[in-house]
Amino acid sequence: MALDLDTDYWDKDVVKSEEPKEYNTLNVGPTHPATHGVFQNVMLMDGEFIVSTEQTIGYIHRAFEKIAERRPFYQITPLTDRLNYCSSPINNMGWHMTVEKLLGIETPKRVDYLRIVIMELARIADHIICNSVIGVDSGALTGFTYIFQDREFIYEIYEEICGARLTTNMGRIGGFERNFSTKAWEKIRYFLKTFPRHLQEFENLLARNRIFMDRTINVGPFPADRALAYGFTGPNLRACGVDYDVRVMNPYCSYDEFEFIVPIGQNGDTYDRFIVRQEEMKQSMHIIEQAIAKLDKMEDKDTYYASDPRFVLPPKEKVYNNMEALIWHFKIVMGETDIPVGEVYHCVEAANGELGFYLVSDGGRTPSRLHFRRPCFIYYQAYPEMVMGNMLSDAILTMSSMNVIAGELDA
């Protein structure tokens, strides 16, 4: 909260200078522990108050949209990993759903439920990082060290499913590359049992902590109409009071069969963003529990990919033993399949908002144009307006509560 100093009393002996104000320039970044990733802010400061900021991004621009024009669809999944690398399974699943929309593949229900389990785990992982780092940026490091053990456990779950921890390259177009192992299910159930208690422990450290509340309430507030004009989506927009969630507005992957609440805030300040993310983690747990209940009730426990041999890579056992599977595998990998001409836009609710994929296909093996609608890139434009006139420490907390991930900023 900004201090309300009585300047008439305190400054009455100060001789007010007639000269114009002198501003300092402070360079925050690109290598700075407070910016989570490489992006730069050159701030013009009047003492401790920020007059204006100038942003420079593009330090981690890896030309994904250009590379994607030369890669077959299944080779673009590793590119999508590296967008918002804190929750890469969501990016992977979003991309697979985009291609399935273009090719007209319908995934079986079991695949949908497995995807929902993974996407919600990824959302929890991303929110763990964001919320604990808000604490770290305000000086509270304890919560970070405890809750990060749960993020490590989520990475162990990913490892059981796809082999990788951070950049998961998980799943295939049409489903998954293998069924979830018993070890993976054991870990998921163990996580469901233990995480709520750890989350509550973490929340008890910060959510009603006097110091944390003083540091975050009314810091970086943003009205809802400005947020909509700036293209905010996700927890940042929900903290401003607009309940826009892609899972509810345009349901995909059977999300309409699940019951969950969309938490919203009031002022759009840092505290609201923190609390919205906390509540979303609890709702994600609720969704995972419902998905596991549905999966347990299903008799079929073996399907893990859609049966569309034209586009879905067959499992390796079949490729080595079955002639048709070998032929289909060859055709798909070498690009001899009939990809339809067309264009499709598909969006998913990523941890930061609406992650969209605009895919234009000209019938060839690679996309003709692939554009990523990256939520971070779009809402980070509003940062100068959010911090103008505030103090530097408030600006640092605003930046970390917006959850700006450099990979998604630059692509």
Binding site: G58, E65, K101, Y244, Y345, C347, I378
Partner: protein, 169 residues
């Protein structure tokens, strides 16, 4: 007010063609989204009309990206709009000749178009009239090429050590 209108796509097309006539060049529904191709002359008015009309209310610019059509020698723009009130998404396309790739800016309609237009300028060289700060955003400032055009090669052509003849890039 949300009204139950059976086919919102038809409503949008009807309103646009009533208002702009011949400037609406094509409209079709591709996979589940209405795509409307608009002539470059009226693109700004069309977007403002889509945003402000009380029955359509496309208040959210989802994304804006550039396109290069090398066979027609044109550069284009693709807008994805979203109406939160009616839960409707549409795609608006325009194009212009490569000799004069200038479009009016949409930052007056939606401030979120600011960086999106900078990115489009960075990648395609499309200029936006009236943009407050049209400089490169993701590439280095002194770059002279526009990398996402189809004639810009993906890899460095001066390398001697790689043979890409089998898996052409």
């Amino acid at each position: 007010m949300f009204q139950i209108i059976p086919d919102r796509n038809q409503l949008v097309v009807a309103k646009l063609t009533d208002h702009f006539g011949e400037a609406i060049e094509r409209h079709e529904v591709i996979t589940d989204m209405l795509c409307i191709t608009v002539n470059k002359e009226v693109i700004n008015e069309a977007l403002l009309f889509l945003r402000d009309d009380k029955e359509m209310q496309f208040n959210f610019l989802t994304t804006l990206c550039g396109m290069h059509y090398p066979e027609k020698e044109q550069l284009g723009l693709v807008f994805h709009l979203h109406s939160f009130v009616n839960n409707q998404r549409i795609r608006i396309k325009t194009s212009t000749d490569m000799s004069n790739p200038v479009f009016p800016t949409s930052t007056t309609i939606w401030p979120s178009a600011n960086w999106m237009e900078r990115e489009t300028y960075d990648f395609y060289g499309i200029l936006f009239e009236g943009h407050p700060n049209l400089v490169r955003i993701l590439n280095v400032d002194d770059m002279t090429d526009f990398p996402l055009r189809k004639d810009f090669p993906l890899e460095d052509q001066t390398r001697e050590d790689k043979d890409d003849s089998m898996f052409g890039r």
